[in-house]
Amino acid sequence: MNLQSNDFELFGLTQQFAQDRAALDARWKALQREAHPDKFAAQGAAAQRVAMQWSVRINEAYQRLKDPLRRAAYLCELSGALINAHSNTAMPAAFLMQQMEWRELLDEAQSVSDLEALTARVDATRADLMQECAQLLDLQQDFTAAVQPVRALMFIDKFSHDLEHGFDKFE
């Protein structure tokens, strides 16, 4: 166990997509109980510095593990299947068409209920893609194939963010 261990090793978890959120949260807190700088407040600068490094590392791993999308992307990357989120934006035409349709619906929304209907559609698509990720990552262990739904989920995440902002104008 050291600062270079991967997130799953650090948290003592099996390296797979399926994770129990409650167990993950409990582990996070158990680790922070040992490592948080507050536990070393009366113990001098050297201990503080080490605690800070570990506490930061534990938080970093927790942020990545608790978010299913980031967890999926991380599993791909660990297995050498690169996501290249910034440089590679090519996506299947059908997916892009659906994105455009959603964007139009968002722009033309007249009420909160319009936005809620759209949110439901987005959430359903997200759930399907998550299911696909779980299948590819844990059962088939085909990390290269999993890159595709992971990238689709990144698009959806960005759209969800814009969709949330859309609610602001009705407040």
């Binding site: 507050d38 407040a41 113990q43 001098g44 930061v56």
Partner: protein, 618 residues
């Protein structure tokens, strides 16, 4: 009557083991200090039995000053030199202060933090706050007849980096060792959480004199996790006073022109507001230079006039819930903090919004200081069996300016701290050898709409083709929520670091100058102060090392152990030494000798955490 403390022979408590640590609520309108005594958190009263110190400082010609109740008396008679609600100015420039023209002060405009001209010269908000903190420190020292080991100081959850840094600077100026800055709502939750030992999601609704905070906290297994924070750093009870005063002026067709008129009006509005919490209608009395106001205000009228202010708090509450991805029905309890929550219309609006009666059985003025003292006691190591762990979040996103005045977000808000996040940038011109970084804080996409925290440059990048350099910018936010930024060119290793202070905070040289100018020099000469501090630090380090050796000494090889023992023996002579620099050098070498040991202890702790869990899950 005080109880006698009886100890078994050989178990006499070492006076060093019980450290006096206090919690300080540095509030907009008033401040309090609390400490855990005999296992119970309590606010410390002054000689006249008052626990509340008005956050008012009056500067008197000839160098004197009055702090607290005395200064409050002078608010109407000497408004220009009597500084109230200084918290609103912490880490702020004049342009940031909403309604500055309504205030009776003569402001000095600076690039960074504003100043206030007084008869005793220009004062920074940090100096004014330091006067208040020092007063509370003396109160605590007199109460315990001992030096204060350290303090936990509370800040609104919504305070940005500049405001937090200014608060920490003020504490330093007041001679306090800051154990931690914690968020006020979190402190309130600690006070309530330990009393009620309840698990679940809580909303902390904190309407103080000048700030409003809403925090959504989750309490599980003794861990306080801040899920989201929101609020308005320029909305509080003072605004209710202003709204009432403005309305009364409009109704009576009068005007407040002079500084003392404005101050008198403010006091009258506050008195009227407080009375309206208990009675249905109250006479508004204010004697101004132009006219004497006698006007009857009904409770319903006051509620109507201030309804937009209350509504603003609920908008922020809804937003915080949305950030937390929770709805109103997930909230198991609402904690009321701040004297302004005594207003019945606020209680009613909050009860209606959350669909449940808010918790208010602790004194809303004291609850923050009480919670801070519990945390201070734990951080000082007095409560070794303590199970309290605070996992706080950063309240506002941090980022850097990119092309076209856009913000590239690096640390999103509500991220658990401490945290470190990095982003890679590159050069955009061939042969570019420097990169300017502008660090900002805020939620908006344009730099102009965010708060500028600092600007710095990374120089000495070897000339390369555009886009070839890889400059990694790392934001590190410590457990106090304070930011450090470093930039490193990955190919050449050129590095630049910055504690984010320059644009709004104070430089170390400024603090040194203020220390030199301030009350601390009047009391004792700087050199003896430095000597005392170096001895206290040495003592602290020796105790910490001793307890670490007792717990985990078996991790050390004999050679390593011998090195640490030698460094401890050298430092143990500190009480007989008279040279602060020499003591500091010995402290430093002990710290160096224990560096590897600290890392080994942490590994053991982590292994413990995992082992414990694995056994449970079998």
């Amino acid at each position: 009557m005080a109880l006698l403390q009886i100890s078994e022979p050989g178990q006499t408590p070492n006076p060093h083991e019980r450290r006096i640590a206090v919690g300080i609520d540095l509030g907009t309108t008033h401040s309090l200090v609390a400490a855990v005594r005999n296992g119970v958190a309590e606010c410390l009263p002054d000689g006249e039995g008052r626990v509340i110190l008005p956050s008012v400082v009056r500067y008197v010609a000839g160098g004197g000053r009055q702090i607290g109740h005395e200064a409050l008396q002078a608010l109407a008679s000497d408004p220009e030199n009597t500084i109230a609600s200084v918290k609103r100015f912490m880490g702020r420039s004049l342009a940031d202060v909403v309604g500055a023209e309504k205030l009776p002060y003569r402001f000095a405009e600076h690039d960074g933090m504003l100043g206030i001209h007084t008869v005793a010269g220009e004062k920074s908000p940090v100096e004014v706050s330091a006067e208040i903190l020092a007063t509370l420190r003396y109160l605590a020292e007199d109460t315990f007849n001992a030096d204060i080991y350290g303090a936990v100081i509370t800040v609104p959850a919504y305070f940005d980096d500049a405001q937090r840094q200014a608060t920490k600077d003020a504490a330093q100026l007041a001679g306090l060792n800051v154990l931690r800055l914690i968020n006020e709502p979190t402190a309130a939750a600690i006070a309530y959480g330990l009393d009620n030992a309840s698990e679940g999601v809580y909303a902390i609704y904190d309407l103080g004199g000048g700030t409003f905070d809403i925090s959504i906290l989750r309490l599980t297994q003794g861990v306080f996790e801040v899920v989201a924070t929101g609020g308005d750093s320029a909305l509080g009870g003072d605004d209710y006073d202003h709204a009432l005063a403005d309305w009364v002026l409009a109704q009576t067709g009068t005007q407040a022109v002079t500084a003392s008129d404005k101050a008198a009006l403010k006091l009258a509005a506050r008195a009227c507001k407080e009375a309206l919490s208990a009675t249905k209608n109250v006479a508004f009395h204010a004697d101004l230079t132009g006219a004497n106001i006698r006007f009857n205000v009904e409770q319903g009228q006051f509620h109507a006039v201030t309804e937009p202010l209350t509504a603003r708090t609920l908008v922020a509450a809804r937003k915080a819930l949305r950030d937390a991805r929770l709805s109103v029905k997930d909230v198991q309890g609402v904690v009321m903090v701040g004297g302004s929550t005594r207003m019945p219309q606020v209680q009613a609006a909050v009860a209606q919004f959350f669909g449940r009666a808010p918790l208010n059985n602790l004194n809303p003025d004291e609850v923050v200081a009480l919670g801070a003292s519990i945390q201070a006691n734990q951080l000082a190591g007095n409560n070794s069996s303590g199970d309290l762990l605070l996992l706080d979040v950063i309240p506002l996103s941090l980022g850097v300016e990119t092309m076209g005045g856009l913000v590239e977000r690096i640390v999103p808000r509500n991220q658990t701290i401490p945290t470190a996040m990095a982003q890679d940038f590159t050069t955009y011109k061939d042969g570019q050898t420097a990169l300017a970084l502008h660090v900002v804080q805020g939620e908006r996409d344009m730099v102009a709409d965010c708060r500028s925290l600092a600007r710095f440059e990374l120089r000495g990048i070897p000339p390369m083709a555009a886009g070839a350099a890889r400059i990694r910018v790392t934001f590190t936010v410590d457990a106090d929520g304070l930011l450090n930024v470093s930039a490193r060119e990955q190919v050449s290793g050129v590095q630049a670091d910055i504690d984010v202070k320059p644009s709004y905070g104070l430089g170390d040289d400024q603090i040194a100058q203020m220390l030199k100018d301030s009350f601390t020099t009047a009391e004792q000469d700087m050199r003896s102060r430095a000597l005392v501090e170096s001895r206290v630090d040495a003592d602290r380090l020796l105790l910490a090392t001793q307890s670490a050796l007792t717990a985990d000494g078996d991790l050390l090889q004999p050679v390593e152990r011998a090195e640490i023992d030698a460094a401890m023996a050298a430092l143990a002579k500190a009480p007989t030494m008279d040279d602060a620099a020499a003591i500091e050098a010995l402290s430093k070498s002990l710290a160096q000798a224990t560096e590897a040991f600290a890392a080994q202890r942490m590994n053991r702790g982590i292994a413990h955490a995992l082992a414990g869990k694995n056994i449970e899950s079998i």
